[in-house]
């Protein structure tokens, strides 16, 4: 698959933005500035970016509790996201959602979701809208390996096949669901093959490799836009951090964790690949790194200094019977 230098730069910038964003969130969480539960996306950047690079604002994605990467890749405003995670009035959801509920319907981001398995039926619904209204939009349902065991996931897949909907199921298999390993929880030990049994094209790909994700998504997208219905992608990646910020990860050996970070870094993979093929120069990428670092640092400062929601906001955005 031929990609322009511009596209490559954008891909790298997005992945780097996700990484820097998560590192900043991690620091702010550790210092007590961020409330609630936070799940970091680091290690999975190639999945979100490889998929969402193909989409525009009119397409839809449904996300998970580990949703920052999907939001960024789908073009959500960085400041708005950071403020949301800090619980500030200027956040994308006015501070009412938080890390696990960032949404931006205008940009087709249908929400992070704190219910594991919550998103796939919703994404199928977005695809139904596209089909019914005759647009060429598509929907993507991101799920984790753990979430792929939820009944909603299976039902959503069958429904999508039955109604031949333009939806792409992307399962990011990062090896763990909380503290449970994927080989334990998936009886068949193979998520994509299980999905294939539902009657749609399904493949495993190396989710650490941006190019592999990008290529698989191109095919799936062509099927969806072409009216051939759903596809399934199992994207194998790693989780650099614990399940949540603060997770001591006793269920995971130190060696495995170190290896995951050392060998399982999609950014390093990308750099090696574009370097080897002389597509982009290391200095270009370093510049991007620096720019992103600045942008994220500024977002943190803005979020930190932003105003809290007014307590009266408690009673808005809902019909009230009381």
């Amino acid at each position: 698959m031929q990609m322009s230098r511009e596209t490559l730069r954008t891909a790298y910038r997005q992945m780097r933005t996700i990484r820097a964003f998560e590192d900043a969130v991690n620091r702010a969480f550790s210092s007590g500035e961020i409330p609630g539960f936070v799940h970091l996306y680091s290690g999975q950047e190639a999945c979100a970016v490889g998929v969402c690079m193909h989409l525009d604002d009119h397409d839809y994605i449904g996300s998970t509790h580990r949703g920052h990467g999907h939001c960024i890749a789908k073009g959500c405003d960085i400041d708005g996201m950071m403020m949301e995670i800090f619980g500030k009035a200027g956040g994308l959801c006015g501070g009412k959602g938080g890390s696990m509920h960032i949404a931006d319907i205008e940009r087709g981001m249908l929400g992070a979701n704190a219910i594991v398995g919550g998103s796939p039926p919703l994404a199928v619904g977005a695809a139904l809208t596209a089909k019914t209204l005759g647009t060429d939009r598509v929907a993507v349902a991101f799920t984790g390996d753990g979430g792929s065991n939820q009944g909603t996931m299976f039902e959503a897949m069958n429904m999508a096949v039955v109604l031949k909907l333009p939806v792409i199921f992307v399962v990011e298999n990062n090896g763990y669901a909380e503290g449970t390993g994927v080989d334990y929880a998936i009886g068949s030990r193979d998520i994509a093959s299980r999905a294939a049994g539902f009657g749609m094209p399904a493949e495993h790909i190396d989710g650490l490799d941006f190019f592999a994700v990008y290529a698989a998504m191109a095919e799936a997208l062509a099927r969806a836009r072409g009216g051939s219905g759903p596809s399934f992608i199992e994207s194998r990646c790693v989780r650099h951090h614990g399940h949540y910020c603060g997770d001591p990860q006793g269920y995971r050996s130190k060696e495995e964790l170190q290896a995951a970070r050392a060998n399982g870094d999609p950014l390093l993979h990308f750099r090696a690949r574009v370097g080897a093929s002389a597509l982009l120069e290391a200095t270009e990428l370093d510049t991007i790194d620096a720019e992103v670092e600045q942008q994220i640092a500024a977002a943190v400062v803005r979020a930190r200094e932003a105003a809290d929601p007014s307590p009266s906001a408690l009673l808005t955005d809902v019909y009230l019977s009381y």
Partner: protein, 341 residues
């Protein structure tokens, strides 16, 4: 305007709104029926025939038969609603809510608030409910207190064909998720229903009968039970006001409170199980906001705290009846007379 059944009224509402707005779609198990079968295409229209004729008029693209997969139905409908359709999803029996409730109360109901007001979810969920058909413990429940408890949902429970049509059209045009509940024993009742489209607003109770001695609040089929009790009471000179809230979220507290302020006595009739019920809710706000007008305790006439039994004799004993309502009212008047003495 002509005589129509409750079933027809609902069918007309769906027909009218699908005609008016191409974004309205109907989704559910056998809402058309016959998909993948060898027979006639428009034979079914739901197990009770409520959606019959829609597939003939609007086609399978808008009257969508699904597998048995309620979580996907409700989630798909919610996802479609938030992206531009106005789905009417059918749950068949409300008893089935347990297999798909998450997509309703955690997803659809919360989008607007959780996303800071930036999402609209114009979704209607239709479901049958209620006892009286010997349909057993898993096909006869009410469960509307679940929905009424949840912020972000609107809940509609009509008792007449007229209200059913007007409230369903209102529901389809509303931008929040609405649960629209149809009592199975009401499908065949008849009433005057305009042929054209009209709406009945949410949060406005209907006062079906006025009397100064007691206020009886009742829902759905129990409205008819309450009216029967009021008839009987009238025969012995006791005059009841009968109020049907029609929607329980929002609920028209004012009409109920005003009436209680006049009568001083309140009986709430609810076919559901008693604990944390709508009957409890109505009693509770009256005990707060109409307290000083009350002349007697607030009584709830409900089903017992048991599942719905199958055998007709048991089911008949389970469902609140006019005799019980009448007795409750007489008791309140007696108690009061005692106190005066």
């Amino acid at each position: 305007m002509s005589k129509k059944t409750f079933r027809q009224a609902i069918n007309e509402a769906l027909h009218a709104e699908m005609q008016r707005d191409p974004r309205v779609v109907v989704i559910g198990e056998d809402v058309a029926g016959g998909a993948g079968g060898t027979g006639v295409d428009d034979a079914y229209g739901g197990v009770m025939g409520v959606t019959r004729g829609l597939v003939g008029a609007f086609g399978r693209e808008r009257v969508i038969d699904t597998p048995i997969t309620e979580s996907a139905i409700m989630g798909m409908a919610a996802g479609a609603a938030v992206t531009g359709l106005r789905p009417v999803a059918e749950l068949m029996f409300v008893d089935f809510i347990g297999v798909c409730f998450d997509q309703i109360y955690n997803q659809a109901a919360k989008f607007r608030y959780m996303f800071g007001g930036k999402a609209k979810t114009p979704l209607v969920i239709r479901a049958m409910f209620g006892a009286g058909f010997s349909a057993g413990a898993q096909h006869s429940q009410c469960l509307y207190s679940f929905f009424t408890h949840v912020p972000g949902l609107k809940v509609v429970i009509p008792s007449t064909p007229y209200d059913a049509k007007g409230l369903l059209i209102e529901a389809i045009r509303d931008d929040d998720p609405v649960i629209f509940l149809e009592h199975t024993k009401l499908y065949d009742i008849e009433g005057q229903v305009p042929d054209e489209a009209y709406t009945v607003p949410f949060g406005e109770a209907s006062v079906l009968r006025e009397g100064g001695d007691v206020t009886i609040v009742a829902l759905a089929r129990m409205v008819h039970v309450a009216l029967e009790a009021a008839d009987r009471l009238a025969a012995s000179g006791i005059h009841a006001t009968v109020i049907d809230p029609r929607t329980t979220s929002p609920i028209d507290e004012d009409t109920i409170l005003e009436s209680v302020t006049e009568t001083g006595r309140l009986v709430v009739v609810d076919e559901a199980n008693p604990r944390c019920s709508l009957a409890s809710e109505i009693a509770a706000f009256a005990a707060d906001k109409a307290f000083f007008a009350l002349k007697a305790p607030i009584r709830r006439v409900t089903a017992p705290h048991t599942p719905v039994p199958f055998a007709p004799v048991l089911e008949a004993a389970y469902i609140p009846n006019a005799g019980q309502v009448e007795a409750a009212v007489r008791q309140l008047l007696d108690i009061n007379a005692d106190r005066k003495r």
